[in-house]
């Protein structure tokens, strides 16, 4: 099960966070900073999976951005690792077509919409790229007209 998805920059500033298990608001910032510290201290030749407290972190770095997914033990780490890549490819597909030079993070709501299609209740519910984007495309079309 996926516990949370985070997009954090190198300085520990959160760009996006979605929790699938309840975490108190006041604890979130500390957790996020700690998680990114954990991932930042990893070297290139080290594993992309880190044991953190009583669960695991799967992280991937894209330039200055870290995408970190917290998972329980039973989850297949490598499949989540690739899920992150799938997510990023979907973002790429959406943003490069619709808005050319817009920073993804400035469209926080749209990134959430996309993530909502992929992960629900901590489970991977959709991985088909075109299907993930269908609702958002429809909304865009409708708001434009």
């Amino acid at each position: 099960m996926i516990k949370f998805v985070l997009m954090v920059n190198r300085r520990g500033q959160t760009r996006l966070s979605r929790y699938y298990t309840p975490v108190e608001l006041s604890r979130r910032a500390a957790l996020e900073a700690d998680v990114v510290r954990c991932c930042l201290s990893r070297r290139k030749e080290q594993c992309s999976f880190v044991e953190y407290k009583d669960f695991k972190l799967v992280y991937r770095q894209y330039a200055a951005l870290f995408i970190v997914v917290g998972i329980t033990d039973k989850e297949n780490e490598l499949s989540i690792f690739e899920l992150i890549q799938n997510f990023v490819e979907v973002l790429d597909k959406y943003f490069s077509r619709v808005v050319s030079s817009c920073a993804i993070m400035f469209s926080l709501d749209r990134v959430h919409f996309i993530l909502d299609e992929i992960v629900q209740n901590g489970l991977v519910v959709e991985t088909n790229r075109s299907r993930i984007l269908t609702p958002l495309n429809a909304i865009d079309k409708m708001s434009d007209s």
């Binding site: 608001l25 999976f49 490598l78 708001s143």
Partner: protein, 850 residues
Amino acid sequence: MSDVVEKTLTALPSLLLSVDSQPGSAKLSTSSKLGSLIRNITELTSKHEEEKLIQRELSSIKDQVSSPNTTMRQMKELMVRAIYCEMLGYDSSFTYIHAIKLAQQGSVLEKRVGYLAVSLFLNEHHELLLLLVNTVLKDLQSTNLIEVCMALTVVSQIFPKDMIPAILPLVEEKLNHPKEIIRRKAVLALYKFHLIAPNQVQHIHNKFRKALCDKDPGVMGASLHIYLHLIQENPEGYKDLTTSFVTILKQVVGGKLPMDFNYHSVPAPWIQIQLLQILSLLGKNDPGTSEIMHEILEESLRRAEMNHNITYAILYECVKCIYTIHPKSDLLEKAAKCIGNFVLSSKINLKYLGLKALTYVVQQDPKLALQHQMTIIECLEHPDLIIKREFSQLLMLLHVLMIFPINNNTYAPDNEWFIQTMNAVFSLGGETMQPDITNSFLKLLSEGFDSVEEDRKLKVFAVNSYVSLLEGEPEKLPQRFLQVISWVLGEFSHLQQDVGAETVVCLLDKLLHMKNSTSETKTWVLMAMTKVCEGAACAPLVQSVCETYSSSLDTVLRQRAQELQHLSRDPALRARVLPPVCTREPLEVPVDSSLSFLDEFVSEALAAGAAPYKPSHQRQEELAQTKGVSTVCLMFVCLMLFLTRADVCVSQLSSSLKLEGVKRVWGRGGYEAAQVETPSPPQEGGDPSISHTPPLTSEDTESKQQEQQLASSMFLGLDHSSVTLVTHTHTHTHTHTHTHTHTHTRTRTREYGTMWLSFSNDTKQNLTLVHSENEGPLRATLNVLTEDLHLHVVEIIGMEAIVACRLLQDQPCLMHCRVHGDALAVWLRSPVPELPDCLIYHCQRALQGH
């Protein structure tokens, strides 16, 4: 990686970077309030500043949301900013109600943002959630499909349990909707209901089946979540669906799904993984059901040949499945090969997965782990902590299995496995292993098992294993392991008729010549040679070894060399002195467990100011502090080994030997049972010691041995006859100790003073005074010391005296003595670091006799 991925990855940074590496570049951000907020936050450096900025922002938002003039469009924008602020950890609960309003009243995009905000802000028990229900109900019945989708999405994310009955019929009917996206989302909503209130959805399980067989793969995929959950709780209830799952997997693997379900040319990988998880649950402990899956599992293994992470993820799941269900040998083999590839892979993520798979597999089939023994060991050297941890877990598992064999023969560890596993433990343990582990292993080996034949086989197997290790590259093996190997070969190689004594002696000799063999290891090797050598073929090699080590600086090595020399020449004597372990009952060795014969010596030494005994754990702590490697795993192994045998192993002297009812046979004069004769008269070098217990019990107290060695090395470089402090173990008599010292030096008091101030190494100690009728205690004591040790008394004034000696040309030692009560307080100084302590020791020895 494929081209597409490469291109994507290079394109991505430009999209994701904007704010984070190119400040101020994004054009559109200037028009967006959110954009400028994010940029401002990014540029800040302190938490305090951030707080100020956010609070300002929040109060601005607050004003605007409460204003009646704010449009829905503006509200949407405010809401996203509020989401951002809460994401950073700042409460914006005043916006919650407005989020719901937004969902109710906004147009499509605004509504979506409203729903998003609600799913992020609220939790299941929030009072405002009830207000959402009406909106959702309305949207579910909307003609606009987008709104229906949105409603179903939010229902899957968050919904009050008590309101399920109100919404259930609406959702149910969506299961039959012509549009697949609606059907899919309806299934997911029902899954959520099942999670929070299983009773409410019990009556519609048949509808789930329909979803499973839905012609649309997306709907089918959604139903898998429900089934995985249901089957985890009750596998029996769903065994009849096995064929369906197998068929579905066949279709997916066979590429029957539309192309857009592919991810890097792999068909619906996450669906495959889920199906494999479901199949494992169904096939577990069920041969009939497992049978149905064999074909598809084999095909999955075969198809996942591509060199991509996602195929490896599928393979991992496949392997896990194969090892969970009822076993089939050729499938197991293929899966094992697969794991091997993972573990051997250079890619660290795959290695990790391989180890994880191995850990899982070891619980079902321990033998597989052994094939990858060396790789596993290499993994421990790996700098990555998570790899190390995985490996430690693996090893612990192996040993739990070893110690608690299940009665079922399939899982009972056999000799081969035991020896190979212990080899792995010794190889990885290296120098940081506790000696207890080696000792208990040796004891285990010597005591054997109940069956004589099994016992013999185990020993023979061990011998074979070690012979081949020595024939290979023993340089890489840790010292403790080499010691174990030597002992085992010494004791048991005669059981293996195929390996001649000469071969073993040659192999042992190889160890002696290895650069990194320590003195301690060499003593074990010499002991082993002593036990093994027989026949004329060994004689020349033995002779040359004896010659080499008879003049070794290490006294213990010298002793062993002497033993080797004498015992190799006299087989009858050796047979009496060193009967093979397996021919006698283990506890027949008479040992005075309390070492009572040493009591007087100890009390005298303490009175003379010797340091009291430091228990093993304290010494170990001090030792361990200097070493970085964690021995948790090995300690666990040690514990486990102990648990197999009720008695404590006979190890160092320092640990208490719980052997009760053993009669006292050792006394002051040595072994009193008159079983051992000294083979030859005392020589210049002192008596050769006769050791007739295995090296396990022959170790002296560490400090004593160190001191002896130190003393011997100190006094060796002399013109006069060399000092041989031949120290023996507790098992036999002490012999003479010749201490010859050094030339006198005539030093005057004045020079003495200058020298005293310039020397940096000192020691203070109390010596016992010698009382004589003829002269005062100071003089008497000094006389004894000067006689025995050839010290030179420079001057005596009243109750004080200054004494000097010189070891070599530039190695003087000065001693200042003062009578203090009933003892002689001495203070020594020397430029040579160890000399003061050494000299004190000899003074004490000398005074002992008086």
